[in-house]
Symmetry: C2
Subunit: 219 residues, 2 copies
Amino acid sequence: MFTATEENYLKALFRLGALSEGGKGPAGTNELALELDIRPATVNGMLKKLREKGLVEQRRYGKILLTEAGRLHAVEVIRKHRLWETFLYEKLHFTWDEVHDVAEQLEHIRSVHLTDRLEEFLGYPSVDPHGDPIPDKEGRMPPEVRRTLAESEEGHAGRIVGVCDNSAEFLQYLDRLGLSLGLRLTITRHIPFDGSVELESAGIRMIITRKVAENLLVD
Amino acid sequence: MFTATEENYLKALFRLGALSEGGKGPAGTNELALELDIRPATVNGMLKKLREKGLVEQRRYGKILLTEAGRLHAVEVIRKHRLWETFLYEKLHFTWDEVHDVAEQLEHIRSVHLTDRLEEFLGYPSVDPHGDPIPDKEGRMPPEVRRTLAESEEGHAGRIVGVCDNSAEFLQYLDRLGLSLGLRLTITRHIPFDGSVELESAGIRMIITRKVAENLLVD
DNA sequence: AAAAAAAGTTAGACTACCCTAATAAAATAT
DNA sequence: ATATTTTATTAGGGTAGTCTAACTTTTTTT
Ligand SMILES: [Mn+2]
Ligand SMILES: [Mn+2]
Ligand SMILES: [Mn+2]
Ligand SMILES: [Mn+2]
């Protein structure tokens, strides 16, 4: 039905929020090209195909919107990606910085039966190893209404429920800092000087940079 | 390193026994084309590339032999294929006629770490759901010295340890006959008239056609 | 409103993989 | 030893996906 390449374009558009509602709004050719690390000229050609397949809507020189069919398929690929990441993490004991690259391949395996059995085998998980929600079979995904640590007020207590940046670089840094999903913490102070955030967890006080705080989600 | 297409060519050559020793000997272009269901002209072009990559040896108008590098990679792909089939069968409860098609996709996922962890997760299985041996990390595969039911003598008692034909059509037929891997049976009679084989298993007598008998392996 | 910058498109080329039709070489049969 | 058949190769063409360089349209700045 769809090639791995087409699926990656759809996923990138979804990530950029190219939805008629709920998202950041339509994306542009250059923006999409940047996201995919592919040249705009190439993206332009692929968009023609995606339009013809009814997966995106775009007027000449205009912005790109995912159609309902496009959105549904993007979510299906994201569902597979996150289920595979969960499998790698829970069953094969990959670390959370190792799962993404392999899931990037596994997400393109075509077999509805496989996806559903995998989901069952994993016990119908609701989030992947990075705290991202896993869409259900019908493409429903719980809306993410999570605040970053940077925008939570002083005194707030909660758990780390997700990360915004899934790069191995960032995740390994978190491991080094001793920060992982589910960790309970309290924000003790926002430091005005450089935006650093002071927090306390399990009786230990620590300071993280603003950049780290912006990429951590808390409940 | 290698594309999925290249891997399928190597696997087909291995299946045809294009080894310098142990196999049926070198394969021809047409034979390989038939195996892959691709036209000889196309195969001819791909062979040029495989030669340049040092995976096969072939003189102009000559037969095709896998090099050591080619053989090793073919076995690596077969290893992945059989491990995935085992995973689908053991963990996701696929039936033995459903596993092959999905494994045909999964075998091309690139990650040595994944293969090794999967093998560990499965408990280092020695055979896949069809009784075919699973090569180890170093590419060693126990030689298959198994006899078909058709060539075993009357009175022989043993277990079904494998099938020659992995098609869903054949495997579903076996299910219908109540024949599965590990089943103990005794050959009671070879019927000269049409080559059918009469056998007895768990106190039940049954007759299978010659074609079925030729595709069942016993120990 | 004109100039400059940014965004989007077109043209032409390349690799990977596939095809059919025609041709050349090798193997087999007469 | 030819003739026939089989096998292998070449020539030319197609789709998918990528690139660079040049060009056009839209947006932003002055
Ligand atoms: Mn991921
Ligand atoms: Mn992908
Ligand atoms: Mn198989
Ligand atoms: Mn394959």
